[in-house]
Amino acid sequence: MLSTLRDLFRYNREFAIGASLVLVIVALSVASFFSPYPAIRSYVVPPDIPPSWAYPLGTNSRGQDVFWQLSAAMRNSLLFGISVAFISRIISLAVGLTSGYLGGFADRVLMSINDSFVVIPLFPILLLFFFLMRDHMSWPLLALAMASLGWPYDARLIRSIALSLRTREFTTQSVFSGMSTRKILVEEHLPYVLPIVFATTMNNINWSIGLEVTLSVIGFTNIETPTIGTMIYWANQHTAMVAGVWWWVLAPVATVVMTFIGLFLLAVSMNEYIDPRSRLARMGA
């Protein structure tokens, strides 16, 4: 495992850059646990101080240290992204694998549901969801809502692979040997689709963080919790760019761009590790 990582670092530039970026982001998120101030408290430091040795990323107009604010925001955004990706992966795997393997009527029903979700416009639905839940809006609830909207593309992708897998000899033989449908899906087909699932997980984290930022910037989430999006929201509320407090906006934007690039590069290089065939090619190289 460690030697694989070392090899990937050495021979795969995408992985090296992506992993470094993600590592920085994770370190930043973990740092939030050592924050000297609670993230939601304001006026704990003097406001509007530009970046300096005492405050590496400056302080904002609400009297918060931007570095510690950013640290907590990144942790929350990342956790949000991961939980959305995790839940939606489960849905898309379940739907994609069963639909592709069973075929026929089950396939038609599942795919018509799937396609309905594909054509649903996400953004208005999420806005509506916010207005409906206004007083009870919480991050786990939003994560659940987004997860239940973010699975259909990948379910279709997984189904297309499952369709081909069901006609392979090893599936026929599994059926012949008396394996149950559940076992065939989990033991035989799941390992086959995992590389694609890993790649789409990264993309899904990106997608959900992006959507979270979009919703938060215009104030349609629980703005009390610091996230990348709410940080930008508060900066806008205090007209940070007009007031010249540019570091308040630059910090979250730069960090989230770093996250996107890092995750994207990881998604690209992840296949190298997962697919035993390309792993072999790399060892030969």
């Binding site: 392979r168 000899e169 090893f170 026929t172 033989q173 599994s174 012949f176 040997s177 008396g178 394996m179 076992k183 033991e187 035989e188 390992p191 086959y192 995992l194 035993p276 065939r277 072999l280």
Partner: protein, 347 residues
């Protein structure tokens, strides 16, 4: 002699119904044969003559549109017809008593998992050993078949085709099944590996004392491994005899041409091809299905299908020209309304 498998009047058709147009392909039509214990029975025939369909039918591994419409399939280890079993009972006897090496069987190993997992997935339930002893038994079995147990840790793509085929055969024989069905297990291999694999199959079969139904279109392979040989043509078995007898004195005109087409060392005469092509199984010719290509065709051949008739002790043939004793087969009644419709709608 003990009978391991007896098939009687087995008929398996592909019944298709596309947008109201019904079509019936009689891929296995009225086949009866017996495989004895400890015997390797070979089935030969050209492509699309129903060999694989027959195997699927006797393994009860049919999926729509393929359906078994008549006949019986009885194994010695079962007290009733295989089609009388429930799905649970069926999956219970498979692998343990009946294993099936499918066509392209070197691909039955999951490409993204180690060979070890395939053994667990396919055989663990059927072997009924605790996990700690399972791999010991597997390794012992591999050693018996002269395979190194380290193949268990390999991915299928790390093995050569011949190696994968050998692993597959080890996998098929691990539970010491009474009956093995092998569908062209050597087709994708070159002759050197083929020889090794055949020796291995033979050895495995003799070690565990099972019976085997071996299908291939390669007559050289049949000469090598099978004890008795059935020749299939267009969904029928047209001749059946001990392998050596088929090669030395073929009686059916199709078999005669088949054997005459084989190259012999020192013989420089040009081999003549049989004119015509095998008939469409959706619309077979009347009477004997071989008559349009047969050099000996008589009037009766166009009218009624000859039955497989015993010529001598263990030689059966279905041809009027061979013996006056050959009688027409009983006419199989039309199964349903669909068939009458199909007659006019096929095309």
């Amino acid at each position: 002699m003990d009978v391991a498998l007896s098939v009687e009047n087995l008929r398996a058709y592909y019944l298709m119904d596309y947008f109201g147009i019904k079509r019936e392909v009689r891929a296995v039509d009225d086949i009866s044969l017996v495989v004895n214990r400890n015997e390797v029975y070979g089935l030969a025939g050209e492509s699309s003559c129903g060999k694989t369909t027959f195997l699927k039918a006797i393994a009860a591994a049919t999926r729509p549109p393929l359906e078994v419409v008549g006949g019986s399939t009885r194994y010695s280890f079962l007290d009733r017809d295989i089609y009388a079993l429930s799905p649970e009972e069926l999956s219970e006897i498979r692998w343990k008593h009946l294993s099936y090496v499918t066509q392209g069987s070197m691909n039955i190993l999951n490409p993204v998992r180690r060979v070890r997992h395939s053994f667990v997935d396919f055989a663990f339930r059927h072997l009924g050993l605790p996990r700690s002893e399972f791999f010991g038994a597997v390794e012992q079995h591999l050693r018996r078949l002269n395979l190194v147990p380290t193949v268990l840790n390999a991915y299928p793509h790390e093995l050569s085709g011949g190696m994968r085929q050998r692993v597959t055969i080890a996998l098929a024989t691990i539970c010491r099944p009474e009956f093995i069905i092998a569908d062209e297990p050597t087709t994708a291999l070159d002759v050197v590996v083929q020889k090794d694999v055949l020796a291995m199959i033979r050895e495995a079969q003799q070690q565990i004392g099972s019976s085997m139904l071996f299908v291939t279109h390669d007559m050289a392979v049949h000469a090598n491994i099978t004890d008795r040989l059935g020749i299939m043509y267009a969904g029928h078995v047209v001749e059946e005899a001990p392998t050596a007898q088929i090669f030395h004195e073929p009686r059916h005109p199709y078999t005669e041409h088949l054997v005459a087409s084989l190259p012999r060392i020192g013989d420089r005469t040009q081999r003549t091809a049989l004119p015509g092509a095998p008939p469409s199984l959706a619309d077979p010719p009347s009477g004997c299905r071989f008559h349009p290509r047969c050099p000996l065709a008589m009037d009766i051949c166009r009218e009624a299908n000859p039955s497989l008739t015993v010529l001598s002790a263990n030689h059966r043939v279905a041809c009027y020209a061979v013996s006056p004793h050959v009688k027409p087969a009983t006419v199989i009644p039309v199964t349903s309304d669909s068939t009458t419709e199909s007659a006019g709608l096929v095309e």
